[in-house]
Symmetry: C2
Subunit: 749 residues, 2 copies
C-alpha cells in the first residue's frame, strides 16, 4: 500500500482527534469499491458506545430529520440489500460490521477518546481509496506503542476488504490482547433487520457470519487473519458475534504486521450463479490467502488510477478548492455501482443512513452529468435503473389513479414510493420529467440509439401518458398542473410551477420527437414499439397539445419568470428578522405553517430551470430571476449553492460565484455543521462538478449543443483548470488558462 | 331494575345476533355515568378472540384511519386517564376490563357465536342507561338454560358498576362453572399502557386490580360478587387477571340471581382527597354490600329521569326518528363529564378508541349548543376546559412562533397538540375562533358575566393576540389568512377561507366589544384584567383594524360566497365518474393529491358559516351556496348532513332536509357502514339536536337573538315536536304542532 505519502492535494487529512467531529469524519472517510461502502469508523469503535441500540425513528420533516446522536456509527452498505423499517418504510440495511480490530495493552483498552494518544493522524487517499491512521499510544502501564492502520475495499476483487495493522513496541514491554471479528449486533436506524444469524468457525482457521435479512436476502461475511510471526489466534463465538482473539507478551522493539481479509457476499450479487454466499466468500478468502498483499493492492490501485484519468479536475492556484473538488469526485467514483443497473446512487452516497438509502431526483439532475461525461457506461446503468423500475412507476401511477408511469419521489430498489411524507410524495411530480430529461441528456451525449429503442422510448411514452392524466383542463381551454411542489420544497402546494411545467413540456415534446424520428427513419423499430405500447396517433397529438398549452408563469412588467402562477400571492416575510443565525438551517427558525405560506425558498427553483434551459431566457431574465429569488432563498438544501454559483458565474457575478462555490465545496467538509455525519451530500458533489464544467468552464450540455463548446468564466485566482470530457464516444482533454484562453484536445487511448 | 319493558320509542333493540355487527353494537350500546364509559361488550367476550393483541397502529389519513378489526373490543374509559402511544401521541387508555362474567355448562363455554342460542334479545334502555340481554342456551349436553343480564354504570355513586345475571335451568341438569373477574390484559390501539399491575385478593371476599399507567396515574378496580344461594366463590389469580370462580351442580327449575358490583377509582378523581384509589374503591364496595339492589338502582334511575326531563325531544308521527333522536340524546347525556372541567367530550364520545380520545372543534360547534340549552352547568364546564387548557394553547402558539393562544386541532387534556398530521394541525386554525364563538354563545345564552370576567376575557384576548401574529399584510394594505384549511378537510391549503375569516372577525370583534363594556361599566374588573393581561389600547385598535380588513371572498356576479379566495382556481372533477359506490366514502375512490387540488368538499363549509351567521346573508345567497356546494360535497364527514339538513329546512327544501336528517340519524345506527364500531359520532348527535331545534323548530341561537324565538319548518309527516330549552336561566317547554302552530311555556320547578 501507498505509505506516508500524504499529498495534500490528494488526501483528506485529520490531524487532531475530537470526538465531536467523529461521525462527520466517518462520513467523509467513507470508502467504497462499486460494490460495498463502509463508513470511516475506527477499527476499535468507542469503548463506551453501543452500536446496536434499539430505538424508533419517526419520519420527520426532511431537512430537520434527526438521527440518533451517537459517538460513532459503523456502516456497511451493499446497495440493493434493503429491509422494511416498521415506521420508515424500505431502507438500506446496515450489515454486520467486519472491520473490527480491538487492542488492549496490559488490560487497557485502546480508545481514541480515553487513552493518551500522540502524533495522531488519519487520512483518506483519494488516489487509491485507502484509509490510513497512525498514532503513538502511551499506555497506562508506561509503554509506548506505535499503531498504523491501512484499509481499502478492493476495486478488483469487489467482494474483498483488506486491512493491515502495524504494531510497534517503541518503549517498554507488556501483554497485547487483540479481538478482531465480525459483529452482527448492528441495527439500522434503531431497527434490527436480521432474522437469522449464524456465527461460523470454519476449520478453526476462518470465521464467518451468515445472515438472513427481513427481506430474505442472504449475506455472508468471512474473515481470515494473518500475522507473520508470533500471534496465535483463537476463535470465539459470542452473541451474534464471531471473533479471533490473541494474547501475547511483547517487548520493546517488537514489530508486528497483522492483516485481516474479509470477503462480503450476498445472494443478490450479479455473479452469484448457483454458489451460496458462504462458498463464494470462502473462495475469495482461499484465493487471497495465497496472494501477496502487494499484488492484491497493485491490481486494486490500477483501477482507481484509470478512474482518475477520466475524471480528475485539475485546479492550479487554489489548493483548497483543488482538494475539495477531488474529495467530491472521489465520492462520486466511490459510491457508483458502475456495472449494476438494479441500483442507483442513494441521496447520501451510501455513507450513512440519512434518507434511508433511497433514490431521488438527485441522481438524474445533479449527479448524472458527471457520469455521462466521464463514465458513460456507468451513466447508462443509472438510467437503466429507472427502466428497471418502470413497472414500479406504473404501479405507482395506478395506485394514484393515473395512467402510464409516475416515478416515486423516494424510490425503493423496485421503484415503489417510500417517502413517508405526503407533501413530497404526492406533489413533487417533477421527478418523472427529470428522469426523461436525464435520459435525453444521456442520449444526446452518447448517441446510444440502441438504449433509446430498447428502453428509453418506453419510459418516454409511459411518462407522457401519466402527464395526460395528471393535468387538469382549465376554463380557458388550457391545461394546468395544480397542487404541485417544484424543486423548492418550502412551497408545497402551487399552481403551474415554472420548473415543473417546463420539464413536463420537455418530456412530452421529446417523446413526440423521438417517435417521429423512429416513424420516419426506422419503421421496423417503430412498428415494434407501437405494438408493444399500443401507441396510437391520437396520443401523440394529445402529448403535443398538452405540451403547447402548459404555461410558464411570467410577470411581463418585471420580466420575471415566476416560480409558480400563485407565487406572488404568498406572504412577504423578513428573512433577517427570523433567521438570526445563518450558520443554522432557516427551517429551524420558522414554523412549517408560516414557511409554507411565505415567500421563502429552500433551494434553486427558477434558477434550476435556467441552468437546464439557459438558451430560452434572455440575460436580463436570468439576471432578474437571480436578483429576485436569491435574497429569499435560504439554501437549506445542499442542492442549492452549486446552481447559484453556476448562474452567478454566467452572469459575471464572480464574487458571488466564488462565495457559492465555497459553500458547495464545504457542504461535507465543514465541521461547523452536521456535514457528512449521516453520509455524503452526493448530489452536491455532482453539482460541484457541474458548476466547474458548466459554470466556470462554460461547457454547454449536450442537450443544448451538438458539439463540445467551452465558454470560460474562470475565477480570477485560478491559474489553470484542466479536465476530461467524453462526448459522443470520444474523450477530450480541456485546458483553460488564467487568461481564459483554452484548448480542447482529443485523448487517444 | 326496569324489567322487560322494551318500549320501542325508548329502547335500542338488537334481536338477532350477527358477529359482523358486534363491534357496531358495542359502540351503540355504550354506557356511561358522567365518570366512566364502557362499550356494550358481552360479559363473556368471544371465546376465540384476544382483547390484548399487541400491534402498531400508524397514523393514517383521518377519514380512512383503519383500526384493527377484531370480533369484539372491550372498552373502559375514564376521561382524563391518558397515556402516550409511541406513534399516535397521547391517547385515552382502555382500562382493565371489569365486566367479565363467563359461564360454562358441562364444560361447554358460553359464546354467542358458537353456541345454540334461541330467543336472543339485547336492548339498551335510554331512560335509565341499562343494558339488558336475554336468551335461551341449548347446551351441547341437552340442557336448556335461560340467561338474563342487566347492567348499568351508576349515576348516583359514580364509581360504581352494577351487574345482575339471572340463570334459570329450564330443562335438564348438569354442572355450571363461572369465572367473573377483572382482567388487566387489555391494550389500547395495540399498545400496553400499564406499567405496574397488582392483582389483589382482599380478605378472600373481594377482588381488586391496581394499575399504574405510563403517565403515572393510579387506577383501582375492585369487585364483589353476591349470590343469594348456592354458589361458593373461590378467588384465583392469573397473569394480570384476578377472578372469582365457582362450580355447582344444578337441576331443572333452579334459578339463581348473581350480582357483581365493581368500584372504579383513580387518583385523578375530583373527590380523591388523601384516600388511595384502593381504599376509595373498597369504601364503595363496603357500602353497596349492605344496600339492596333496588335502592341502588332507584337512586341511579332518578338522575337519568331528571336529565330526560330537561333534554328529551318528543316527536310524534315518526317513531323511527323519535328513537334515533333519543339515541343521540342518550349518548350526549352519557358521554358528558358534567362536573369535571378538566376534560371535555372526545370525538367518539368515549365509546371507542377512534380519534384516541382527543378533543376537536366538534365539542364547541356541534355538541355544545345541546348543553347550553339543556344543561348550562355542563356547558360551563366544557368551556372551562378550554380555559384550563389555555396554558397549553399559549405554549402551542409559542412553539409555532406566534403570540397569544392557539388552540390545538386535536387537544390533549393539557391543551397540547396531538394531531400527528401536519396539514390538519398546522392549517385548521379556525379551532381557536370556534372556541371563542362557543364562549360567546354560552355567555349570550346564560348571561354568565362572572365566567366571562374570570375566564372568558382572558381566552378572548389571548386568542386575538394570536390572530394578530397569524395574519399576513398584503400589498393592498389589507390582511390575509394564508395557508388555511377551513372546515372542508379536502382543501388543505387555501387563501382567505370564508368560514375561517368570518370566525376570526367574530373573535376579534367580540373581544373588543367585551373589553369596551368592561371599560365603560365595570372599571374594577377592567383594571384588574388590563393589568393581568398587560392589555394596551393599541392592541384593541389592532384587533379592530385586522377584523375590518379581513375579507369574506365573494363572487359578485354569481352572488356566491366563495369557500376561499382561490377556490375557483381548483380543478373541476366529475364526482359521478370517480365515486362509483356512494355507500362508501368518496375518499376511498380518489388519491389524496387529486382530491386536494380539486373542487370536491368533505363537509359543510360555507354552509357551516351560514348556519352560524344566517342573518348576514340573503336568502338568495344561502340558496346559491347550497345549490353550488352541495353537489360537490361528499359528506365524508359525519359533521356534514345535519348542517345541510338545517339549511335545506330553512330554504324550504323539505325533501332534502328530510333526506339529510335521515342520513344524520343513521350515522351510528346504520349497520351498512362501520357506524359506531370505533365509537359514537358524538358531534353528529349534537348536530342532530341542532338540526331539530335550530332547523325544524327554527329556534334562533342566543348569538343572533336576545329573546327566545321559534320559526317552525316541521317536516310534513311529523305530528308534533316538543322539547325544553333553558334560556337566560329560565326553562321553557316548546311545543310545535303539525300545522306549525306553536307554544313557548315557561317551566317552573
Amino acid at each position: 500500500m501507498r505509505q506516508n505519502d500524504m499529498n495534500s492535494l490528494w488526501c483528506l487529512i485529520e490531524d487532531n482527534y475530537n470526538v465531536r467531529n467523529n461521525r462527520k469524519y466517518e462520513g467523509m472517510f467513507a470508502q467504497g469499491n462499486g460494490y460495498v461502502s463502509t463508513r470511516g469508523v475506527f477499527e476499535e469503535g468507542a469503548s463506551d458506545n453501543s452500536k446496536d441500540e434499539e430505538y424508533m425513528n419517526k419520519a420527520g420533516f426532511v431537512t430537520v430529520q434527526g438521527a440518533k446522536e451517537t459517538k460513532f456509527k459503523c456502516g456497511t452498505y451493499v446497495p440493493g440489500i434493503t429491509g422494511n423499517h416498521p415506521h420508515l418504510n424500505e431502507e438500506i440495511i446496515n450489515l454486520p460490521w467486519f472491520l473490527e480490530f480491538k487492542v488492549w495493552f496490559d488490560n487497557e483498552c485502546l480508545d481514541m477518546e480515553k487513552c493518551s494518544i500522540d502524533d495522531y493522524k488519519r487520512w483518506l487517499d483519494f488516489r487509491d481509496g485507502t484509509l490510513n491512521r497512525e498514532f503513538t499510544w502511551n499506555t497506562l502501564s508506561g509503554a509506548q506503542v506505535k499503531m498504523e492502520y491501512r484499509r481499502f475495499l478492493d476495486r478488483n476483487i469487489k467482494n474483498l476488504s483488506s486491512q493491515e495493522i502495524n504494531i510497534k513496541i517503541v518503549k517498554g514491554s507488556g501483554e497485547v490482547y487483540i479481538e478482531a471479528g465480525i459483529d452482527g449486533n448492528v441495527k439500522t436506524n434503531g431497527y434490527n433487520h436480521f432474522r437469522d444469524l449464524k456465527c461460523l468457525n470454519i476449520e478453526n482457521r476462518y470465521i464467518g457470519l451468515e445472515v438472513v435479512t427481513d427481506n430474505q436476502n442472504k449475506i455472508c461475511e468471512a474473515s481470515y487473519i494473518k500475522c507473520d510471526k508470533g500471534f496465535e489466534w483463537n476463535i470465539e463465538k459470542r452473541e451474534n458475534h464471531i471473533l479471533y482473539t490473541s494474547r501475547k507478551a511483547v517487548e520493546e522493539g517488537n514489530k508486528f504486521v497483522i492483516r485481516k481479509y474479509t470477503a462480503i457476499t450476498t445472494d443478490r450479487d450479479l455473479e452469484v450463479g448457483n454458489v451460496s454466499p458462504l462458498d463464494r466468500a470462502l473462495n475469495v478468502i482461499y484465493k487471497v490467502e495465497k496472494e501477496s498483499a502487494e499484488n492484491i493492492y497493485e491490481r486494486h490501485a490500477k483501477i482507481w488510477e484509470e478512474r482518475w484519468e477520466d475524471s480528475d479536475i485539475l485546479i492550479e492556484g487554489d489548493d483548497k478548492s483543488q482538494l475539495a473538488v477531488r474529495f467530491s469526485i472521489y465520492h462520486l467514483i466511490r459510491s457508483c455501482i458502475e456495472d449494476d443497473p438494479r441500483v442507483a446512487i442513494c441521496a447520501k452516497g451510501y455513507a450513512g443512513e440519512g434518507y434511508y438509502g433511497r433514490y431521488f431526483w438527485d441522481t438524474e439532475i445533479y449527479m448524472l452529468p458527471f457520469y455521462i461525461y466521464t463514465n458513460p457506461k456507468a451513466a447508462r446503468n443509472l438510467i437503466k435503473f429507472r427502466y428497471n423500475t418502470l413497472e414500479g412507476a406504473k404501479e405507482n401511477a395506478k395506485r394514484y389513479g393515473y395512467k402510464g408511469a409516475r416515478y416515486p419521489w423516494e424510490s425503493s430498489i423496485k421503484g415503489d414510493e417510500e417517502c413517508p411524507l405526503w407533501q413530497f410524495a404526492d406533489n413533487e411530480v417533477h421527478i418523472t420529467a427529470d428522469i426523461i430529461f436525464a435520459l435525453w441528456h444521456y442520449y444526446s451525449a452518447t448517441n446510444d440509439y440502441e438504449f433509446m429503442v430498447n428502453y428509453g422510448v418506453e419510459m418516454m411514452v409511459e411518462s407522457s401518458r401519466y402527464w395526460v392524466t395528471r393535468v387538469d383542463k382549465n376554463k380557458n381551454g388550457g391545461y394546468d398542473l395544480l397542487g404541485v411542489m417544484g424543486p423548492d420544497e418550502y412551497t408545497p402546494f402551487t399552481k403551474n410551477s415554472a420548473y415543473t411545467n417546463r420539464m413536463v413540456k420537455f418530456n412530452l415534446n421529446k417523446t413526440v420527437e423521438f417517435i417521429n424520428v423512429l416513424s420516419a427513419m426506422d419503421r421496423k423499430n417503430f412498428n415494434k414499439i407501437r405494438n408493444k405500447l399500443n401507441l396510437i396517433d391520437e396520443e401523440l397529438e394529445l402529448f403535443r397539445e398538452i405540451s403547447s398549452k402548459l404555461t410558464i408563469p411570467y410577470n411581463k412588467e418585471r420580466k420575471l419568470v415566476l416560480q409558480s402562477e400563485d407565487f406572488e400571492s404568498f406572504a412577504d416575510i423578513d428573512l433577517d428578522e427570523i433567521w438570526t443565525d445563518r450558520n443554522r438551517y432557516f427551517v429551524q427558525f420558522i414554523s412549517q405553517d408560516k414557511m409554507y405560506r411565505s415567500k421563502c425558498i429552500k433551494q434553486a427553483d427558477v434558477l434550476a430551470l435556467m441552468m437546464l434551459f439557459p438558451q430560452e431566457f434572455t440575460n436580463e431574465e436570468i439576471k432578474n430571476a437571480y436578483e429576485y429569488y436569491e435574497p429569499i432563498t435560504t439554501h437549506d438544501s445542499s442542492l442549492s449553492p452549486a446552481t447559484h454559483a453556476t448562474i452567478a458565474a454566467w452572469l459575471g457575478k464572480e464574487d458571488e460565484a466564488v462565495r457559492f462555490f465555497n459553500k458547495a465545496a464545504n457542504v461535507d467538509l465543514s465541521l461547523e455543521t452536521d456535514g457528512a455525519a449521516e453520509g455524503i451530500h452526493i448530489a452536491n458533489s455532482g453539482g460541484l462538478w457541474q458548476l466547474i464544467v458548466h459554470g466556470f468552464a462554460g461547457v454547454k450540455s449536450s442537450v443544448l449543443e451538438d458539439t463540445l463548446k467551452v465558454q470560460p468564466k474562470l475565477p480570477k485566482h485560478w491559474d489553470k483548470l484542466q479536465f476530461s470530457i467524453t462526448w459522443k464516444s470520444k474523450r477530450y482533454k480541456i485546458t483553460i488558462n488564467k487568461d481564459r484562453s483554452y484548448s480542447i484536445e482529443e485523448k487517444l487511448n
